[in-house]
């Protein structure tokens, strides 16, 4: 049985030979090695604030461009939809409806022209004899 107070307070760990003598040199070499690539990229560090601002502008422009593209697309879609509605109505009118419509239009025109003398002479009801009497 051992008490803590009975055990001599000592450092029982050891280090390899000349460890501490070489340690400082090793650390210095490591610091220099780690500092070298830093030197190569020093211009990057100097440009960092400008690059950040540029990146922000690019981001803002991208957002604006994306929005503009979206808005244009939306407008084209509305125009296309309007055109489509017109097309739809035209498509809905079948051929017979169009004929009916033109016939109706002609009839209306003829009825309206009965009072007109030229129309009267040209009408089928006018006798050829009357044309002769009148000296034609």
């Amino acid at each position: 049985m051992a008490k803590l107070s009975d055990i001599p307070k000592q450092n029982s760990f050891e280090v390899p030979e000349n460890y501490f003598e070489n340690f400082a040199v090793n650390v210095q070499q490591r610091i220099q090695t780690e500092e070298k690539p830093k030197g190569k990229t020093v211009w990057l560090h100097q440009l960092k604030p400008y690059l950040s601002v540029a990146a922000l502008f690019v981001f803002a422009f991208s957002l604006w461009y994306a929005y503009a593209q979206f808005a244009t697309q939306e407008q084209s879609l509305v125009a296309e939809t309007e055109l489509s509605a017109e097309d739809y109505y035209l498509y809905a009118l079948d051929q017979s409806s169009m004929i009916d419509y033109s016939t109706l239009e002609t009839e209306v025109a003829l009825e309206a022209d009965e009072t007109d003398p030229i129309s009267y002479y040209l009408s089928e009801e006018m006798a050829y004899s009357s044309l002769l009497i009148e000296g034609y």
Binding site: K3, S12, A24
Partner: protein, 186 residues
């Protein structure tokens, strides 16, 4: 004792001042002043010499790179110990995840490292003491080593470990009790 404390404080101040004017000299002084004490502090946490070497190098590289930003709010001594402790714990956790999955396994791993360590010259009772220390929870183990072997003041330990003095005293007390219990078992 007071003179030594003052000279240590002055030396720290000189290192920080020299860093701005003569970096080679500052580096030499920093190494001379701290490489051994920090080595032994880390070694007691990691046990293995190779791991200690890695953690100590990381400590000095980080400290050197950050020395320009060191404002002197804390002592250079406690600041360096804090970096060293963090580096040691980081490496310890890395080893834990690499090799083992439980705390018990990690304890065994450190005990095995101690058994096979060619750089351990202690006799049987010293080995037994070290094995008893390894049974302590990680933070309690660090507190015990810092107080028992390095005789660091609680106030400084508080700055290094970011724990209150009261909690550190309680932690040390529990650690001593546990170690004595283990030692008395055989």
């Amino acid at each position: 004792m007071q003179a030594s404390k003052n000279s240590k404080k002055d030396l720290d101040k000189t290192i920080v001042e020299l860093y701005k004017t003569d970096q080679n000299k500052a580096f030499g002084m920093l190494m001379q002043q701290y490489q051994q004490s920090l080595y032994w502090h880390i070694r007691k946490i990691l046990i293995s010499h190779d791991d200690t070497d890695d953690a100590l190098q990381n400590t000095f590289v980080k400290a050197w790179k950050s020395l320009a930003k060191f404002r002197g709010d804390s002592k250079l001594y406690t600041w360096l110990y804090r970096i060293a402790t963090n580096e040691a714990i980081t490496l310890l956790n890395k080893n834990k995840t690499k090799i083992t999955s439980t705390i018990d396994d990690n304890e065994n791993l450190l005990a095995e490292t101690l058994t096979s360590d060619e750089y351990f010259s202690g006799d049987e009772i010293q080995r037994k003491l070290q094995k008893a220390i390894l049974t302590l929870p990680e933070k309690q183990r660090i507190v015990f080593n810092m107080k028992y072997f390095d005789e660091i003041k609680y106030q400084d330990m508080s700055e290094i470990l970011g724990t209150s003095v009261g909690a550190l005293k309680a932690s040390y007390h529990h650690a001593v009790k546990k170690i004595e219990l283990i030692l008395s078992e055989d």
